[in-house]
């Protein structure tokens, strides 16, 4: 499992594949203050990225992948 669901945030680690998208979405929807930690993440599948872009959770820690960082900075639609 590339996602660890912790008390305050979900830690996305290593390579997060499309299979995790739905669980992540459901989990984020349930949180009052959704947050994710991407600091150990090497690659996100586009579906995961899309979930993050829709929910816009708070990003805990730094984002190692520059492109992901850039994508998450872009103004919310």
């Amino acid at each position: 499992m590339a996602i660890r669901y912790l008390k305050k945030h979900a830690a996305l680690e290593d390579i997060v594949t499309v299979e995790d998208a739905e669980t992540l979405l459901e989990w984020l929807k349930k949180q009052t203050k959704p947050a994710v930690n991407l600091s150990k993440c090497k690659h996100l599948h586009a579906a995961i990225l899309q979930v993050l872009l829709v929910i816009r959770p708070q990003i805990v820690g730094e984002v190692p992948d520059p492109w992901i960082a850039l994508a998450l900075q872009s103004p919310a639609a």
Binding site: V18, A21, E22, L24, L25, L28, K29, K42, H43, L44, H45, A46, A47, L49, Q50, V51, L53, V54, I55, P64, D65, P66, W67, A69, L70, A71, S74, A76, A77
Partner: protein, 816 residues
């Protein structure tokens, strides 16, 4: 499911398939009318095509499909095999081999192959249409036309967006960025909403676009609220800027040309005067020598990575030193030349580690002019640090283009860390080539045979030399050796054991793709995937199981509406269950689909001329269902790329029987079908019973034997030539092994006037074999008959016995 594992397996299988195809093609050329050979060839190509369908290798599939169609016609006899066909098929095969090589190296097919693939496929199709003759204006003309078509397609996106800048360009890319890279290419990629289901990762694809400078992400339409989002519908829109030729960008996104828009910023220039004036001043193209320097440094790092690899070949080190020196000379400025001279002074015997240390210390600086961009901060700590740099998904481009802005510094910062983490994670798995295990297997086989010689020795000691004491000791020793040998054999078998799940893992994808394609809703339930069996067995199972699943999906499970009308749940279920039953593995494939209509089977079998009409009428429903195992049987009226060619179930049965398994089919019309495959755990050692007839010894495979009985000759009923007896209230036909093998003697009777009868089970029926004597059971290594003897179907093979004699093992199925 792991995609790369699947791919590896595909490559391996494709290789095997192609190897055999090549062999068969040559054989067919010698005897073009051999139906068995053609069937075999066709089956191989059919399997290959099926496998291609699992992946998105369109160029490959196109060629193989064309080949298959051609072979099908040849097989049916509607097309005579000739040299043209042979040439075309061989050419197609060579092309396929190339493709597979390419897939192995790069996991994808080069887009240039598309044109060649069309050409090859077109050539095959022309043969198909012209009845195997090449027309006056040969295929190349057509191929050229196709190729031209492709070129036109490829060229289209380059030419259409002329001077007008699309709206998305300005919103996603800032004016400065566009100004800074007047020669770059901007592209917008809007992935298909269903693309996640195709296993695509648009983000990864975009990220890996050539020489990417900027990448921004947005949505194709308004983002929906969190409550209504469907996370499996792709709504992303990716806009990027690449400092690469348009052709490279098109090539990168070649699989989805309709989802891509490309704009060359240089073509836009006249429309935007400010950008146009800015362009000449901008350092658009780095001077040639800077590019060269960059490239030289990459090569430098490559050399380091090479040295960091384990198991360095002799000569590599000196080659690396030569390369380093060459690089320094190529850079050619003063410090580089100085370093080159220094390299010469390095002792010739310096170890790889020494060279790496030297090279990392003396790595030429990135920019001779003292450019202070982020990339100069490349970690130069140790060779291990360089490794991830080379392996990171976008190695050179990021470091090279300082204007990557946010990208640059972050990238270099993270490069050092991961290598160390990965190194600490150790795995204690030994990878051993299969041939080594096979050798062990052979050796233990010989050991088993050799150890079996000891009881004979003990017997001789007792009878010939009158040494009872010695005989007893030999027997005691034998017991010890026997135990060790058995343990050893068991242990080696364990090594070869693989969970059947390795075959099952590819089913998920297959069922999903096919059910989507067919518009059916199917749930796949897999049970007992941890059940283990010999590697060869497992591998031999892969093809048959895929055929079975395809059949279930295509013919078994009904469409959801029909299921609803029949009062079933709309979702069909295919259940694949594996379990171990004593020394056999049983795999059951159940579906709750339409089942098989025996009447339809009968009609089809008659229509296809497989059995005469009167015989079909007299078959019971259950027997009629078994007709689907006949070669050439198919109920489908049209040929789809799923099934309907009449190779399916025949292939299944042949493959299963080849590994000493058997399959049973039962089906209830309207309720579903159940197929039960029973396979041996291992094929290496066969347990046989030794019998004697006409003072010769023969082996009979233990798994066919039901019982051994003695029958009084008065209890044998004669009816004309046939002999029968009644065993436990059932009539059992008797055959004399002497007659079957044309031995001169008659079956012996013992003192009580009884016959020794070996009851064997053949295709669900018991048959008694009259023999002379029974001897014990023994484990043997069965060697199939070879050479001129290979045609003797009455024998399964031979085995070497402990006393040096050769035991012929009967194949009762063929004999009786």
């Amino acid at each position: 499911m792991n995609q790369t594992e699947l791919l590896d397996q595909f490559i391996q299988e494709a290789r095997e398939c192609l190897e055999q195809v090549g062999q068969r093609l040559l054989e067919v050329e010698k005897s073009p009318t051999d139906a068995e050979l053609l069937n075999d060839l066709f089956r191989l190509v059919h399997t290959l095509k099926g496998n291609c369908g699992l992946f998105e290798f369109k160029p490959l599939e196109r060629v193989v499909h064309a080949g298959e169609d051609l072979l099908d016609r040849v097989r049916n006899g509607t097309l005579a095999y000739n040299d043209h066909i042979a040439d075309a098929l061989l050419e197609a095969m060579d092309f396929t081999v190339q493709m597979v090589d390419e897939i192995e190296q790069t996991s994808q097919i080069d887009s240039q192959a598309d044109g060649r693939s069309s050409a090859v496929a077109a050539r095959l199709r022309t043969l198909l249409q012209n009845g195997g003759k090449l027309p006056g204006t040969p295929a190349p003309a057509q191929a050229a036309a196709t190729a031209a078509n492709i070129v036109a397609c490829a060229a289209a996106p380059e030419t259409t967006p002329a001077a007008v800048a699309p709206a998305w360009l300005a919103t996603a890319l800032s004016a400065e960025l566009i100004k800074a890279h007047p020669n770059a290419v901007a592209w917008r990629y809007r992935p298909d909403a269903e693309c996640f289901f195709k296993g695509e990762d648009p983000w990864l694809l975009a990220k890996q676009a050539p020489a990417i400078l900027h990448l921004s992400i947005g949505s194709q339409s308004e983002w929906p609220s969190a409550a209504e989002i469907d996370c499996y519908q792709c709504m992303l829109e990716l806009i990027g800027l690449s400092d690469a030729p348009v052709a490279y960008v098109n090539e990168h996104f070649r699989c989805m040309p309709e989802q891509l828009e490309v704009v060359e910023l240089s073509l836009l220039a006249p429309a935007k005067p400010d950008a146009g004036t800015a362009a000449p001043q901008a350092p658009a193209k780095p001077p040639a020598h800077a590019t060269m320097r960059k490239r030289a440094l990459q090569l430098w790092d490559d050399q380091m990575a090479l040295l960091a690899r384990p198991g360095l070949a002799t000569g590599t080190l000196s080659a690396v030193r030569m390369a380093l020196r060459g690089l320094l000379m190529a850079i050619g400025d003063e410090p580089a030349l100085r370093t080159a001279a220094e390299l010469q002074t390095l002792p010739g015997t310096a170890s790889a580690v020494a060279v790496v240390t030297w090279a990392t210390l003396h790595r030429p600086v990135e920019h001779a002019e003292g450019d202070t961009t982020a990339c100069a901060a490349m970690p130069t700590g140790s060779a291990a640090d360089l490794d991830p740099v080379l392996n990171s998904p976008y190695p050179a481009y990021l470091g090279a283009s300082g204007a990557a802005g946010t990208g640059g510094p972050d990238a270099s910062r993270r490069n050092g860390a991961p290598a160390n983490n990965e190194e600490s994670g150790h795995q204690k798995v030994l990878k051993v080539g299969q041939e080594k295990i096979d050798r062990l297997m052979d050796l233990i086989g010989e050991m088993v045979v050799a150890k079996n010689a000891l009881p004979y020795l003990a017997q001789r000691a007792e009878t010939v030399f009158q040494q009872r004491e010695l005989a007893r000791e030999i027997k005691a020793q034998y017991a010890v050796i026997n135990r060790i040998a058995e343990d050893m054999q068991h242990a080696i078998m364990q090594v070869r054991m693989m969970p059947v799940g390795t075959v099952f893992q590819r089913f998920g994808r297959l069922v999903r793709d096919l059910s989507k394609k067919l518009g059916k809703d199917v749930q796949l339930v897999i049970e007992g995937e941890e059940t283990e069996a010999d590697k060869n067995i497992i591998e031999a199972l892969a093809d048959p199981l895929i055929h079975i699943l395809r059949n279930s999906l295509d013919h078994g499970i009904e469409l959801p509406e029909i299921r609803r009308q029949l009062g079933k749940t709309p979702q069909g279920t295919i259940r694949v269950a594996a379990r171990q039953e004593s020394d056999r593995v049983v795999i059951e494939i159940n579906d709750d689909g339409a089942g098989i209509d025996p009447q339809r089977i009968r009609n089809k079998a008659i229509e296809r001329g497989l059995i005469p009409a009167d015989k079909a009428g007299s078959l019971s429903d259950n027997d009629a269902v078994q007709l689907i195992f006949l070669p050439g049987f198919s109920t489908a009226d049209t040929i789809s790329d799923l099934s309907g060619r009449g190779v399916g179930m025949d292939v299944v049965r042949t493959a299963v029987e080849r590994i000493n398994g058997h399959c049973e089919l039962s089906s209830t019309h309207g309720r579903g079908t159940r197929l039960r495959l029973s396979l041996p755990l291992s094929m290496a050692v066969t347990n046989v019973m030794i019998i004697e007839a006409g003072s010769r010894r023969f082996g009979v495979p233990m798994d066919m034997i039901v019982e051994t009985v003695r029958v009084h000759h008065d209890d044998i009923h004669h009816f004309k030539q046939a002999r029968t007896t009644v065993l436990r209230g059932r009539i059992v036909p008797l055959r004399s092994l002497h007659d079957l093998l044309a031995l001169d003697d008659k079956p012996h009777l013992n003192e009580e006037g009884e016959h020794a009868v070996l009851v064997v089970r053949l295709g669900g029926e018991n048959v008694g074999l009259l023999v002379d004597h029974f001897h014990g059971a023994t484990d043997i290594i069965l060697k199939p008959l070879e050479g001129v003897l290979a045609g003797l179907t009455g024998f399964a093979g031979t085995a070497l016995m402990g006393d040096g004699s050769v035991l012929m093992v009967l194949n009762p199925k063929e004999l009786v």
